[in-house]
């Protein structure tokens, strides 16, 4: 699983870089527009360690944000599965807020919370929270009639059992959703850093953009890709373990 993810990323990245160089040489563009392979290599050697630390910083925020959003989505999803007014309200609110561009709200968050990790964490959580919530709501509001019917007629169906049954029946789907939202958490953190933070790889990319230094951005993209792939692999592996344990 690990090898496959990394191979996939490396193939895509290498092809992307090659195409970029192809365009550069075909159109005779200067190093200002697209850096030369040698410049990318030299830049990579110069900034690799510093950027690695920055990516780890971003990843740490993304992982915490992701865990927070999973937790919140689970809690709100359980409440939202109710057919009561509260449940309906949560569903409607989630659908509407999800359609709202969080990036547009991000500057307000930075003004209120400052440009420290709290703002990055909140934006990362918000970006992956709503898609997660909708999936969790979808799973938890969908009855597993065959199984639930038995417990219901015997009067043993508690809300905890209902949640367990629905989660168990949809564990593969939930695992996929959680893995998928990890990318969103990473994207959310980078976007937050890009807008206003003072740390992380998004902030570093912002500086490189000010300097019109595409070589630095390519190095940053490489590191982001590798570490996001590794995070996804970890989540898939965890999901696999949970599924195996539950199926026993």
């Amino acid at each position: 699983m690990l090898h496959r993810r990394i191979y996939q990323f490396l193939i895509v990245y290498a092809l992307g870089i090659c195409m970029l160089f192809l365009v550069k040489f075909a159109l005779n563009l200067s190093d200002y527009v697209i850096p030369s392979p040698m410049e990318v290599w030299t830049t990579a050697r110069q900034v690799f360690l510093r950027y690695l630390v920055n990516v780890m910083d971003t990843l740490a925020v993304a992982v915490i944000g992701h865990i927070l959003s999973i937790f919140m989505a689970t809690v709100v999803g359980i409440i939202g599965r109710l057919t009561s007014g509260v449940g309906s309200l949560i569903k409607i609110a989630a659908f509407n807020i999800q359609a709202y561009p969080i990036v547009a709200v991000a500057p307000i968050i930075f003004i209120l919370l400052g440009d420290g990790p709290a703002s990055r964490l909140l934006i990362a959580s918000m970006i992956c929270y709503f898609p997660l919530l909708l999936s969790v709501l979808g799973v938890l509001t969908e009855p597993v009639s065959d199984i639930e019917h038995f417990y219901r007629v015997t009067g043993r169906l508690t809300w905890q059992l209902e949640v367990k049954i629905r989660v168990f029946e949809n564990i593969a789907k939930l695992t996929t959703v959680v893995s998928g939202s990890a990318t969103l958490a990473m994207v959310g953190t980078i976007v937050a850093e890009f807008i206003a933070a003072d740390a992380g790889i998004g902030y570093t990319i912002r500086i490189a953009l000010y300097q019109s230094d595409l070589a630095k951005i390519l190095v940053a993209l490489f590191l982001i890709g590798i570490w996001t792939s590794l995070y996804l692999v970890c989540l898939e592996w965890l999901g696999h373990l949970i599924q195996k344990k539950w199926q026993r």
Binding site: Q8, L29, S30, D31, Y32, P107, I111, D115, Y210
Partner: protein
């Protein structure tokens, strides 16, 4: 391995489509029947002359069809020139020098600002700055990677202030740290945001002052009009007509006689800025585009390229290691074209 390749095929296809589309957008010999002019920033007072040329038909009078396009934080006129998406553009001197150091085939046709509008705003009742030495111990806002960082570091070096003696604070678009008093000096464009922020602070009963690096001996050129060497070589007449129209428009727009009309014209493009503010911005822009600040005496200097200032700018960038080696920027200055 086959599975991996199969899975990556869609991603690779998307990538290829993007890159091929970008390549298709490239035009080696861009036609000059519809000239594209990319500004550095969004439409505001710093592009008063460009807007004036467009609205009042200066390009048309020269027989040119020109589309004036606003810039922005992610826009880079020099890259657009190279890719053939623009024929003329506005770029700051540091962008030009960086591009030249990386082999970009561009030339400078005019220097719109004779003095860099970048200054630092501060509260004189809390922060006393009578000389650069007073910067010691202060918290100074800079945009890391931006030209204000280069200017401030050059200034500190020039006045023998160790970087440990000041605290550099990372600045973005949000002024809250300055409003809250967490930062002593904040970088600001004197003719644009400074008027708006200054008004806001004055309304709140605060005193404001500006620290001008130019007066502290740092000459760093700001916005300039650029094109490619190829366009200059192949279409010298069009370049001449374009520059003639543009500089005439700049001169007219800075003429105090046209003040009200200029305010009205700029406001059409910059609806978020009240006319009263644009009026104040215009006064300062006039001062920055004409060295004497007096239109009657300085009108003939519009667009004048100051080679010494460019060499100083290059030296600063070299000293700050922003460029790896000298570029002899004077070779790329083509006034009078």
């Amino acid at each position: 391995m086959v599975i991996i390749f199969k899975k990556t095929i869609p991603m690779v296809t998307v990538l290829c489509v993007i890159i091929v589309a970008a390549a298709c957008g490239y035009r080696e010999n861009p036609p000059l029947d519809n000239i594209s002019y990319r500004l550095k920033w969004l439409f505001n007072i710093s592009s008063a002359g460009d807007i004036w040329a467009d609205v009042h038909g200066h390009f048309q009078k020269q027989g040119l069809t020109v589309t004036v396009k606003p810039g922005g934080p992610e826009r880079d006129a020099i890259k657009e020139l190279e890719l053939g998406h623009a024929h003329f553009g506005v770029a700051s001197a540091d962008q030009v020098i960086r591009a030249v150091s990386k082999g970009s085939p561009i030339v400078v046709l005019a220097q719109l600002f004779q003095e860099n509008p970048l200054q630092w705003i501060y509260r004189p009742n809390k922060t006393i700055i009578e000389s650069p030495a007073d910067l010691k111990g202060k918290i100074i806002g800079v945009t890391f990677g931006g030209n204000d960082e280069t200017i401030m570091r050059a200034l500190l070096a020039k006045h023998d202030i160790d970087e440990n003696e000041v605290e550099l604070f990372s600045v973005r678009y949000d002024y809250t740290p300055f409003y809250q008093g967490n930062v002593d000096l904040w970088p600001i464009y004197r003719n644009a945001q400074a008027v708006i922020i200054g008004n806001r602070l004055r309304d709140a009963g605060e005193q404001i002052a500006f620290f001008n690096p130019h007066q502290a001996g740092i000459t760093f050129v700001a916005n300039s009009v650029v094109t490619t060497q190829k366009i200059l070589d192949e279409h010298p007449v069009i370049v001449e007509k374009f520059m003639d129209a543009l500089l005439t428009a700049w001169k007219e727009s800075m003429d105090p006689v046209n003040k009200e009309k200029v305010i009205e014209t700029v406001h059409q493009f910059d609806l978020d800025t009240p006319k009263e503010i644009i009026g104040k911005q215009l006064e300062i822009t006039r001062y920055l585009t004409i060295p004497s600040g007096d239109y009657g005496n300085g009108g003939e200097f519009f667009g004048k390229i100051d080679p010494t200032a460019w060499k100083d700018t290059e030296k600063i960038m070299l000293d700050q290691k922003v460029i790896p080696k000298p570029v002899n920027i004077e070779k790329y200055l083509k006034p009078g074209n």
